[in-house]
């Protein structure tokens, strides 16, 4: 528990520091940060509290969603390689949003986009699920489904000639630049509800580590447990993809790092993986804004660059976590 508090404190400190970072040079920046009601109508106040703050909150919420989705993906397939990108979930969400935007049904960041993404994510995940007959096949078939859908998104984006195609393609590589306060109103309730549902299903996901047959022998249906976990993770991934695009590597790395800290029990893991996902994404997004202003670096590259070394280190040190 102490470690969890440390993670939350680190997250709070990093959030405060991130408020001071950005392309615009704000005079007296700490005065605005420590006094949120100071000089409310100034451009500086707007930059810090209406542009940076929502973006920081979004990084925390999206990072948490992906951290939990990763725990469910690895736990329910009983495989250390699983993440929502490999199961076809992320690509399915992308196809859903892309179809919605190009058919002029929704705009990125809207509730409609979340619904499109959820439909895409759920359909792709269920498609993978219906073809696979074992936990291992979920991974191999998921990789195939994911490859097909990613190719479809890429082809459609390169063929699209519309003015907004560029922003769609920007989004498809993952960026928190398009986040608005409205995005938070979608992210927060979904994170809370799915987080609770994940916490509920977690002990059953623990059982899956025994193998499907042993789960049967003690009276449970492994596929049913998996289906529950998949529905939750598809919703979590859908809300992140529809609001900030697909962000590489986070859902894979965060659960491993968390497991190194607290062991394999999924209930505890959910909290730690969420906090670690939030921390990495916030760090990556702050770096993407602060390193070469006014240009922003692609967030997916930074999450990989940051998450991968930590992942490799934890796996090297904690060799018996995943044998």
């Amino acid at each position: 528990m102490k470690r969890f508090y440390l993670l939350v404190i680190a997250l709070a400190l990093l959030s405060l520091y991130a408020l001071s970072l950005g392309a615009a040079d704000v005079a007296n920046v700490w005065r605005y940060i420590t006094h949120p009601l100071f000089d409310i109508n100034s451009p500086s106040h707007q930059i810090i509290w209406e542009i940076r703050a929502p973006r920081i909150a979004a990084a925390i919420l999206v990072g948490s969603c992906l951290g939990i989705a990763g725990v469910l993906a690895q736990g329910s397939t009983n495989n250390p390689l699983a993440d929502p990108a490999i199961l076809g979930t992320s690509a399915g969400a992308s196809v859903g949003v892309l179809a919605g935007v190009l058919l002029n049904v929704v705009t990125i960041g809207s509730v409609g986009a979340v619904i499109c993404a959820s439909i895409g994510a759920l359909l792709a995940t269920l498609f993978t699920f219906s073809l696979a007959r074992s936990a291992l096949q979920l991974i191999t078939i998921g990789i195939g489904v994911s490859a097909i859908l990613t190719a479809v998104v890429g082809l459609v984006l390169s063929m699209a000639t519309r003015a907004d195609a560029r922003s769609v393609s920007f989004w498809s590589f993952g960026s928190l630049a398009l986040v608005t306060p409205r995005t938070l109103l979608i992210l927060l309730p979904i994170l809370l509800v799915c987080g609770f549902l994940a916490w509920q299903v977690a002990p059953a996901v623990d059982l899956l580590s025994l193998g499907d047959e042993s789960v049967r022998h003690i009276g449970h249906d492994a596929q049913k447990i998996r289906l529950r976990a998949f529905a939750i993770l598809a919703t979590l991934v859908a809300v992140t993809v529809s609001s900030v695009g697909s962000i590489a590597f986070l859902a894979l790395a965060a659960p491993h790092i968390a497991r190194y800290l607290v062991g394999p029990r999924n209930r505890t893991l959910i909290f730690y993986s969420a906090a670690i996902g939030a921390l990495i994404l916030l760090f990556a997004d702050s770096a993407s804004r602060a390193l070469f202003p006014p240009n922003e670096l692609p967030i997916g590259l930074l999450t990989s660059l940051l998450g991968a070394p930590i992942l490799i280190l934890t796996l090297k040190k904690g060799g018996d976590v995943w044998r």
């Binding site: 009983n78 250390p80 623990d206 059982l207 580590s209 025994l210 193998g211 047959e213 042993s214 789960v215 049967r216 022998h217 003690i218 009276g219 449970h220 249906d221 497991r259 062991g263 394999p264 029990r265 018996d320 976590v321 995943w322 044998r323």
Partner: protein, 204 residues
């Protein structure tokens, strides 16, 4: 009434008919071993009795009820299963793995089971650090901690040293004396199975 009854059972794995026309009746309060060379289908037979694989033909019943007609949880109440070749991925402790999915009654037997299977020295260790024989005893503990009428064990002695072997045998014999029905799969020769009441050779 036979606790485990198999009637004209046929099992197909892949495209091969591994078991064809197998019948047997196992009474309560007995230990039965099924023996045969590698690939003769004895593990498939155990999997079919456990309800893991469908039958190509025939009927299997536990305590007089056709297993295709009873629910997963009813089957779980009737029988406990020990599989072989256990491979653990995650670093749960031995106690955590044994407790997984068990009710409170079963969990109260935890210390006794750990004691009787001589697992006290590694009970709080991660299952990923265990030797083959230790991991197999964890599997045996997962089955024996459940209070079932029927125990199905796939090669429970294969990786055990002689001391552990005799411990497991005496536990199984005690259960038999309490009226439990025990089925063991083995590929050892019949002489070393003198502790069993019946030996069925799949080739015969």
């Amino acid at each position: 009434m036979a606790m485990i009854s198999l009637q004209d059972v046929a099992i197909t794995r892949g495209r091969r008919l591994v078991i064809d026309g197998f019948s047997a009746a196992l009474e309560a309060g007995t230990i039965t071993a099924i023996v045969g060379p590698n690939g003769c289908g004895k593990s498939s037979l155990l999997a079919a009795i456990a309800g893991d694989i469908p039958l190509t033909r025939g009927e299997i019943s536990l305590a007089g009820r056709d297993i295709s007609e009873i629910s997963l949880s009813q089957q779980a109440e009737l029988r406990s299963v020990v599989l072989q070749n256990r491979n653990y991925w995650l670093s749960y402790t031995v106690r955590e793995v044994i407790a997984m999915g068990q009710n409170r009654d079963a969990q109260q037997r935890m210390d006794a089971i750990i004691e009787v299977l001589n697992m006290t020295t590694f009970a709080d260790q991660s299952v990923t650090t265990l030797s083959g024989g230790q991991a197999q005893r964890v599997e045996i503990a997962r089955a024996l901690i459940r209070d079932s009428e029927i125990y199905l064990l796939d090669e429970p002695l294969a990786a055990q040293d002689s001391q552990s072997k005799s411990r497991v045998i005496s536990i199984l014999q005690k259960l038999r004396d309490q009226g439990k029905t025990i089925l063991v799969i083995a590929h050892s020769d019949k002489q070393s199975l003198s502790w069993c009441d019946h030996v069925i050779d799949t080739l015969a």
